[in-house]
């Protein structure tokens, strides 16, 4: 394995070669360089086998379920309910935004979907109440990052299927870290709101009011509970749970809220095909590349190199976190996860980090990249739906990125945060 291939990888990425194909082309070059064209038949074989995995199917299914729930109009119900709960605090709508993201996290599993759904309603709404529009977009983008950490999570499905870690275990491990992200974000947004004296609702909601809104949101809030109880209780596999989620969303959309048409269903299937298509092609081409890396023992060499520099577990984790954060700024979370997962996991195992713990760290850290400039999918989405420009939001999002990084450090250095629930459920 030569330095040239690594240089090619970075060069091709920066010069705009589609991420989905970069690893495929790099594998081809590596084969040419090894002078071994007899490896060519491996290309379609690895391409096929990397996605011929039943657990991966949870991804398109969760995307579809989230799309249907969104279209069925749960967004406003969830927002109303969270505003009733925390609206009376200073900066109430900012808190409601974060809380809605936490509730939404259990419905969609994709951060960009959360940004689009919540942002299109909350950013204009917050601006009307006197919040800075850039601040509103920043809160939405940052809190959407909770989506992929709290189950169900597409990123975790991919990590689990690709790295052969229990997906149910990862889901269980993500719950508390997701809540911690919510808490750190709320703390920071509270401080800012007090400093700028952002508005709050005049009074605390009464119990009957709260109950009415809870009833309206009840059917949507049941979905994450069904998924979680089903998976964590060992009743369903994650893929089956995702199928049940689709069925549940279909029933709600067609028969309870009755606002979904067959034409909508086609559009939603299209977007399922597209978004899972991209991720799966990255998985396939990465499958070829990773196979080559592993036969050349590159991950082991990287592990040995890092361990020759330092044996300190905390320092190694810090280095990994910094690299992940940096890569996350420039790359989408799923490709970054697919490329770096196999490279770092042997290293983490050698310093004695539990695979579930490490998986949670990776998913959480790379998710932050979705909210960071210059390339953050959630940031872009919030700019688009909130009609604000990137520069203004960039300034406002810095404290929230800091909040998320604090959450990452908590999760990294206190293993109990991620491992307690899996241990209690016997998933360790």
């Amino acid at each position: 394995m030569s330095v040239y291939i690594i240089l090619f990888l970075f060069g091709a990425l920066i010069f705009g070669m589609p991420v989905a194909y970069v690893l495929g082309v790099a594998s081809l070059l590596l084969m040419f360089q090894l002078g071994d064209t007899s490896l060519f038949p491996l290309i379609p074989m690895r391409f096929f086998n990397s996605i011929n995995l039943f657990p991966l199917m949870a991804m398109p299914l969760f995307i579809l379920a989230g799309e249907i729930m969104n279209r069925a109009g749960i967004t406003s119900r969830v927002i109303d309910f969270s505003t009733r709960l925390v609206g009376h605090l200073r900066g109430g709508l900012a808190h409601a935004n974060i809380l809605a993201s936490i509730l939404f996290a259990g419905l969609t599993g994709s951060a960009v979907a959360d940004s689009a759904a919540l942002g299109s309603m909350l950013i204009p709404g917050m601006a009307r109440k006197g919040y800075d529009k850039n601040f509103a977009a920043a809160v939405t983008a940052a809190s959407s990052c909770i989506g992929p950490v709290i189950p169900p999570s597409i990123v975790m499905v991919i990590y689990g299927a690709f790295m052969q870690v229990s997906i149910a275990g990862l889901f269980a491990a993500g719950i508390v870290p997701g809540l911690i992200m919510g808490i750190t974000l709320m703390t920071f947004s509270h401080r800012i709101s007090v400093k700028r004296s952002y508005p709050k609702e005049e009074r605390r909601a009464t119990l009957p009011e709260l109950f009415t809104d809870f009833k309206k949101a009840f059917l949507s809030l049941m979905m994450p509970i069904i998924i979680l109880v089903g998976i964590l209780g060992g009743i369903f596999t994650p893929t089956e749970a995702a199928a049940v989620a689709v069925l549940y969303a279909l029933i709600i959309g067609f028969f309870v809220y009755r606002n979904i048409t067959l034409r909508d269903l086609y559009t939603m299937l299209c977007s399922m095909t597209r978004s899972s298509g991209i991720a799966f092609i990255v998985l396939s081409t990465a499958g070829i590349f990773i196979w080559l890396l592993t036969t050349e023992q590159v991950p082991q060499q990287i592990a040995e190199f890092v361990l020759s520099v330092t044996q300190n577990k905390y320092l190694v984790l810090l280095i990994i976190n910094l690299i992940l954060l940096f890569v996350g700024c420039f790359m989408d979370s799923i490709p970054a996860l697919i490329i770096l997962g196999p490279v770092f996991t042997p290293l983490a195992t050698q310093i004695g980090v539990h695979p579930l713990h490490f998986g949670t760290i990776m998913c959480l850290n790379l998710t932050i990249g979705l909210a960071t400039p210059p390339l953050g999918a959630c940031l872009f989405t919030c700019c688009a739906v909130g009609k604000v420009n990137l520069e203004g939001v960039t300034k406002e999002i810095i404290p929230f990125i800091a909040a998320l990084i604090i959450a990452v450090l908590f999760v990294t250095y206190i293993p109990a945060i991620s491992l307690t629930i899996p241990r209690l459920l016997g998933l360790l």
């Binding site: 589609p18 391409f47 096929f48 011929n52 369903f236 299937l269 899972s276």
Partner: protein, 181 residues
Amino acid sequence: MKINPDQYPGPVVFLDRTASFIERISLFVSVLFGGSMVVIVIAGVIARYAMQNPFAWTEEASRFLMIWMVLIGMSVVTRNREDLCVEFLVMRFSTKLQRIIKIANEIMVMLFLFILTKEGFHMAVNAKMQVAPSLGITMFYPLFCIPAGGLLTMIQLGLQILIDLFMWNSRVSPHRIMDLD
């Protein structure tokens, strides 16, 4: 934002419409595979829990449908450049340089797709005698998605390269999405 077709050379309009026609059909086929996958997985769950009588074939069938969905979808994603390019650096270059880099990238991807398609075809043909364990069909059918999807993507990419070549002297950035319909 719609761009006036008059700004483009005639062949570009034709090539772009051809590409978008192929795209619509492949998207429909891909959705067909995806939709059947969803129905089959749900049927599998219902059979297992509600009827206490699991179907043996649903897992394998839905898996194969998923792979077909992805491979046919690959051409759609490639045509729309949804495949996650990092463009913030190249966008700063002159349009000429942007175009040269883009064509170079496309040719390299084309080479990869060619090998994938060619070797994939051999793999599918060689697997004619293998039988999928629970469906009992020959492995040719699931494996054939690789040459089929690969070829479709090569066609889309080829059209894209042709468009870029015809636009050689244009001052419009090649990274701008065209909307000629």
